[in-house]
Structures are given as structure tokens and as C-alpha cells.
């Protein structure tokens, strides 16, 4: 027993010494709480640099520092919105919180519900922010229970891209289909005129098919949900699901994890993809392509992308400065700079009307489509953006009915049940 105690003692001593040594090696570790008192001399901005925006973000942050004397550390917090959310989620467990963080349309609500990000309405007046200058539908995307939890930053809508050469070969007019019924009529003609080429390429469920299908389901009169009540099994929603499955079975659409590359390589006659793809496609595609509104009847188009949020658990002074930075990044001039560098939509109305934007759009008519379509958008369904894991759950179900060939009614029925369970378990108790 004595020997055992000695051994334990030695073990404990060893562990303590190792921990102390490692702690000493850590050296530069800073304090966990970024909500220090005192004047704010620096801020931290967590971004995934949407649309390859790191250079332009750096440029804007440098300008902010020059204006205010506040240094801003730009942190690459992930390659995707989901990774940023993952890192932010981890930081909430006790790490250093950023002062400003990119929050996508499907991640912000969960943070708002758990009081991880702060309502901004009071901060707006402190920062002298002209909220009415933002595009209303984009601002309202971050509103819940009368409070706004983010402001729009890198926003986009899906677009209908089409290969003009293949369109001409099928004898089709130089425009996108006005309805999905019209697309169903055009698809066989496109397939016949362009053998081996699918008439439409779509991303799979892990690459936001759920976002693109949301517009489609609306045009059939269905929806993912009516506020919190899932409506996947309504006759209209099932009809939309059946339409998607039928087109896939008939070879009228190809589901792919990188449909941009397929379309860019001339291997699909058309494509549903974000406005953010326009820049890359313009550089890559060796053919003439056009952009069109998503098929209607309207509204057949959701908005998406990311906003900027401010964490709840930082000091009030840091929140105010973060709001000041947010206002700077999305002021008219910087909105123009950001959108022209990335291809995202202007989030401010006066940026849309600005002569610089108009001149930019004159040269790029394909980019104009997204702006004009903005009027026909509507906010997304709760089941996708507010329920935890909603987008991923719907995407997986859509993969099952397309690639998996499973029965639409069964899969959508399960989706309905799962969504109800998640709501009752994770959301309802917190409302």
C-alpha cells in the first residue's frame, strides 16, 4: 500500500509538472475573455471570406483602422459558413469570442435562440446607422420576434444559367423558362438537340439543393413549413417533390456535387446556382451563357448567403465598436467595393442606384438579373433556416428521392415527422 501511494504520488507529481511545463510553453496565450473593460483598441472579425473576399476584406478593414485608429484582426474561421458556425459554437464554450462574425442564413437563428448573438436594434442608434438604407427583404431575413440579430453582408439568390448555344440548337428563345412546366416541355427538346447532355444541372443535397428546391416548391404552391408547422406532406409540396423526381428519372436533370464545373465545361445545358458563381463561370466557360430569373410563378426564389452578427457575451463597449465596424463594412461605398470584387448582391438600396454600380452592371448584364430578381424573392421557410440542421435534413431527403429513387410521399412524410420532433425538442421549450 505504501508503495502504491508513493507511485500515485509520483504520477500526480509528474502530471502536475508536465501541465505546468506545457502551460509555460504556451507563452502567448491571451486571456479568455475578450470583454475587457477600458477603451477598445482592437477588434476581431471572424470570416470565411465568402466569394474569395479575403483581399477586399483586408482592404476594407485597413481603411476602417485608418479612419478610427481601431486595429481589426481578420481571422479565417473556416472555409464554409458551417465551419465558421462550428468554430463560433466551440468558442461559446469558453474561448475568446470574436467581436464580429459571419453568420449564414441557416446558422444565425440557432445562435439567436441560444442568446449567443446580440439583438442589434439598440446598437443601431448608437452607431447612427441608417437601417432604412438597406434592402428591406435582406434585413428582415435576420428578424425574429421583433428583434434583428444580424445585418446583410454577402447575400445572393439562385440564378438560372443557360448555355445559349445549346438553347439555340434546341430552337428555344433566348430566355429562361417562365415556369417549371415550361421547363418540362423544353427539357426533351434540349436533350434531343444536345445528345448526352442533361438539360439542367443541380447541386446535390450536401451542396444546398435544399436552397434551390425551396423556390421550386413555392412555385407549386407548397412550402417546407408554415412558420413552425412543417408542410412537406401538403399535396402541393408532394407535387413539387414528384416533379423533381420525375425530371431526374427522365434524365432531364443531373444532380452533382460540383454542378458549376459540369456547366462550365459545357456538359449541361443549364444550371441552378448562386449569383456567387457568376464570376467564376464568366472566367471559365468557353461559351456564351445567359442568366434568367428562376422559373415561376413568382415568388420562386429565396435569398441566401451571410450576414454579420455580434456575440452577446462581449462588453457593451466592444459591441458598440463592432457595430461601428459593421456599419462601415456595409456603408454605400464599401458595399459597392465588396459586391464588385465578389459578385454578391449590394445590400444597400443606394448602392444599387449608385452610378458606379450602374456602370458595372452595364458591362455585365448577367449580373443585373440577380438585382432585378431581388424584388421577387421572399424570406425562407422556418423548417430550413430556423430548425437546427434543417438545411442538411431537407438536402438529404432530396438526395433520397432523386439519386436514391425512394418514394416521395414516404420520404417527405419522414421529413415532416423529423422536423416536428426537432421543433418540439429543441425550439418550442425556448420560445
Amino acid at each position: 500500500m505504501t508503495e502504491l501511494d508513493r507511485r500515485r504520488f509520483l504520477q500526480l507529481t509528474g502530471i502536475t509538472l508536465t501541465a505546468a511545463g506545457l502551460a509555460a510553453c504556451a507563452g502567448t496565450g491571451s486571456s479568455e475573455d475578450s470583454g475587457d473593460d477600458g477603451p477598445v483598441e482592437s477588434l476581431t472579425f471572424w470570416s470565411n471570406h465568402p466569394g474569395e473576399s479575403k483581399p477586399v476584406e483586408t482592404e476594407l478593414l485597413d481603411a476602417f483602422t485608418a479612419d478610427t485608429g481601431i486595429a481589426v484582426k481578420l481571422v479565417t474561421a473556416g472555409a464554409t459558413y458551417e465551419e465558421v458556425a462550428q468554430k463560433f459554437n466551440a468558442a461559446l464554450s469558453g474561448g475568446e469570442l470574436p467581436d464580429l462574425v459571419v453568420a449564414s442564413d441557416v446558422t444565425w437563428f440557432n445562435f439567436a435562440l441560444n442568446e449567443a448573438i446580440t439583438p442589434m436594434n439598440d446598437l443601431w442608434s448608437a452607431a447612427d446607422l441608417d437601417v432604412d438604407g438597406y434592402v428591406e427583404s435582406l434585413v428582415s431575413d435576420y428578424e425574429f420576434d421583433g428583434k434583428n440579430y444580424a445585418l446583410p453582408y454577402a447575400r445572393s439568390t439562385p440564378l438560372f444559367y443557360y448555355n445559349k448555344q445549346m438553347w439555340a440548337a434546341a430552337g428555344l428563345p433566348d430566355r429562361g423558362p417562365e415556369t417549371w412546366a415550361e421547363f418540362a416541355e423544353w427539357a426533351p427538346r434540349l436533350a434531343a438537340a444536345n445528345p448526352g447532355i442533361p438539360p439542367l444541372a443541380l447541386p446535390d443535397g450536401s451542396n444546398y439543393l435544399d436552397w434551390h428546391f425551396q423556390g421550386m416548391i413555392w412555385t407549386f404552391g407548397g412550402a417546407y413549413s408554415d412558420e413552425w408547422k412543417p408542410t412537406f406532406t401538403s399535396p402541393e409540396s408532394l407535387e413539387a417533390g414528384q416533379y423533381l423526381q420525375d425530371r431526374f428519372k427522365q434524365g432531364h436533370l443531373a444532380i452533382n456535387n460540383d454542378p458549376n464545373s459540369v456547366f462550365g465545361a459545357g456538359q449541361a445545358a443549364s444550371l441552378l446556382q448562386s449569383t456567387g458563381s457568376l464570376g467564376g463561370l464568366s472566367e471559365t466557360a468557353g461559351f456564351d451563357f445567359g442568366t434568367a430569373f428562376l422559373p415561376g410563378p413568382t415568388p420562386g426564389c429565396p435569398t441566401g448567403g451571410a450576414g454579420l452578427a455580434i456575440p452577446q457575451r462581449i462588453s457593451d463597449e466592444r459591441k458598440e465598436k463592432a457595430m461601428q465596424l459593421l456599419a462601415f463594412l456595409t456603408n454605400t461605398e464599401n458595399t459597392i467595393t465588396f459586391t464588385q470584387a465578389t459578385g454578391y448582391m449590394p445590400v444597400r438600396k443606394d448602392a444599387v442606384d449608385d452610378p458606379k454600380t450602374q456602370a458595372f452592371l452595364e458591362e455585365r448584364p448577367n449580373a443585373r438579373t440577380a438585382l432585378e430578381q431581388l424584388e421577387l424573392t421572399q424570406s425562407q421557410d422556418y423548417a430550413r433556416v430556423f430548425l437546427p440542421g434543417g438545411g442538411a435534413r431537407i438536402g438529404a431527403a432530396l438526395d433520397r428521392i432523386t439519386i436514391g429513387g425512394e418514394d416521395v410521399e414516404t420520404v417527405f412524410g419522414e421529413l415532416d415527422e423529423e422536423s416536428t420532433t426537432v421543433f418540439e425538442r429543441d425550439i418550442e421549450p425556448k420560445l
Partner: protein, 300 residues
């Protein structure tokens, strides 16, 4: 159980002798030999094709990458993608960080793995079975489950964005302990007992008796550890804030444009550069693995 090491060689020699004496035609039939070679060729092609494709894509320009039908050779040949990797991300910083993280983790994991496996195999102490159960149990817990609690702990220590913060939580050795222990138990007991009778202490036994018979497994363990740590993504992503500590996989992910159309050229160039050190290490260690296999066999 006691003659595990000598058996493969003895059996192989016996088989060779048997074939030489009795029915050599079954092994040397031209048809089966051609079939064997074709099978081997197919496997080589399956393994090599993706690597070849990565290399070729890294040397193509953007339109060429998307050309249909695909081109098997770059047309035109360009090294711009490699330059783009250098300018697109702080490549040398990420490379340095990857080397530091992988080296430290490999040394720590292999050392602790061998020592703990030795203790669990050859030393008698109270609670040995319980410790082993803990080791096995920890193998069954997915890393993702412990991410948040590890993060909270590391953040409280003030280790965010430090090498210590990235390295310490990854330095778990359950896999190594388990692997090496199983190997140690398969060693001939006679040799261990002989060493004990010669009054070899634990350290002497480890260095002079056990390890010389364990090179193949040890090198395999080292190789697995190196590859594993070189490819770490989630934990370093959570811990690191910038290129002062983030490793290559985190840096290279920035080259991929998730919203738009990824320019695969620089991504593939980055992948080639990331793969190269591992490939070199694998080639070097593979030679020693074969050497170790023959040296480790006990002639009987």
C-alpha cells in the same frame, strides 16, 4: 503463440520447397501469370490514376481543366498554379506549422504509445486491466464528442492559437498503446523470459530485447501517426486563428471557393505540395519496414 515470429518465414520456406518438389506447373502456368500481372496492373492503375490526375491538373490552366473531352497532358503546360498557391495563402507559414505539429505529435505519440504498451504488456501493477479497459474505451469515443469539452479546457488555459493548444489534446495514444501492446504480446515468450532470467530491467528489456523485434510494427505505427497528424483539420481549425499556428490543410481549404466556381488548378497544386513530404516519408519508411520485417524474424 510462442512461435509467432518465426512461423511466417518457416512456413514460406516450407511452401517454396514443396512447390519446387511437387507441382510447380500450377504456379508457373502462363495464363495464371498473365492474369496475375493484369490484376496487379489494374490495382496500380486504380491507385496511381487519382495521383496522376492531381498532378496533371495542377499543371493545367483554367480552361484546360474544364475541357471536354478531358486532356491527359496539360495543354498548355503551366506552373502558374504553384505560384498562385504561394500568393493565395501564406504557404510557407502553414508548411512550417504542419512540420512542427506533426513532428512533435509523432514523437510524443510514438514514445508514449511504446512506453504505455510496454507497461501494459510486461509489467504487473494494480489496476492494469482497468487501465487497458480505459484505453480500449477511449478508442470507441469519436473525437467529435470531446471537441467542445477539450476546447473549453484549452481555452481556459489560454492556449488558443498556440502550438500547445493544438498539440496537447491530440497527443492521445490509445491507438498506439493498443496496437503496440497487441504486438508485444505476440513476441516469443521464451526470449522475454530469457531476458528476465538475465536480470534485464524494464528499460533494458525494452531497448535491447523488445524494440529490436518490433521495428515493422513500430514503423507502421509511426507512419500511420505521421499521416494522421499531417492531415488534421477540425481541431487545428478550431484552435488556430491565423497562419502563425494553422497547419497546411486549414490553409489549403482557403483556396477552395465554396460559393462560386472553384479554380481547381491552385487547389491541386497545393495538394501536390502537401502530399510530397508524406510521400517521401512513406517511401523512406517503407524501405525500413521491409528491412525490419526480415531483421525481426527469429531464425529457428
Amino acid at each position: 503463440m510462442t512461435t509467432v515470429a518465426p512461423r511466417p518465414e518457416t512456413d514460406a520456406a516450407a511452401r517454396r520447397g514443396a512447390h519446387a518438389d511437387t507441382a510447380p506447373h500450377q504456379r508457373t502456368s502462363p495464363l495464371s501469370r498473365v492474369g496475375g500481372y493484369l490484376g496487379l496492373l489494374l490495382v496500380v492503375v486504380l491507385v496511381a490514376l487519382p495521383l496522376y490526375w492531381i498532378l496533371v491538373t495542377s499543371l493545367k490552366d483554367r480552361p484546360d481543366i474544364y475541357t471536354v473531352p478531358v486532356t491527359w497532358l496539360p495543354d498548355p503546360f503551366t506552373s502558374d498554379n504553384y505560384r498562385a498557391v504561394g500568393t493565395g495563402v501564406s504557404f510557407t507559414d502553414y508548411l512550417r506549422n504542419s512540420i512542427i505539429i506533426t513532428t512533435v505529435l509523432t514523437v510524443v505519440e510514438v514514445t508514449l504509445g511504446v512506453l504505455s504498451a510496454f507497461a501494459l504488456s510486461f509489467l504487473r501493477f494494480p489496476g492494469r486491466t482497468l487501465v487497458l479497459l480505459f484505453v480500449i474505451a477511449s478508442l470507441m469515443v469519436p473525437n467529435q464528442v470531446t471537441v467542445i469539452s477539450n476546447y473549453a479546457l484549452v481555452a481556459q488555459l489560454g492556449w488558443r492559437n498556440t502550438f500547445a493548444g493544438i498539440i496537447v489534446p491530440l497527443a492521445g495514444v490509445a491507438f498506439g498503446t493498443f496496437l503496440m501492446r497487441n504486438h508485444f504480446l505476440s513476441l516469443p515468450k521464451e526470449i522475454i523470459e530469457a531476458a528476465e532470467m538475465d536480470a534485464a530491467g524494464p528499460l533494458k528489456m525494452l531497448w535491447r530485447v523488445v524494440l529490436p523485434m518490433s521495428w515493422p510494427t513500430l514503423i507502421a505505427f509511426t507512419l500511420i501517426t505521421i499521416v494522421n497528424e499531417w492531415n488534421q483539420y477540425l481541431w487545428p481549425l478550431l484552435m488556430a486563428d491565423d497562419s502563425s499556428t494553422a497547419p497546411l490543410p486549414v490553409g489549403l481549404a482557403q483556396l477552395q471557393d465554396t460559393a462560386g466556381l472553384t479554380n481547381w488548378g491552385p487547389v491541386m497544386a497545393g495538394t501536390v505540395i502537401t502530399m510530397l513530404p508524406i510521400l517521401v516519408i512513406f517511401l523512406l519508411l517503407q524501405r525500413h519496414m521491409i528491412k525490419g520485417l526480415t531483421a525481426g524474424a527469429v531464425k529457428g
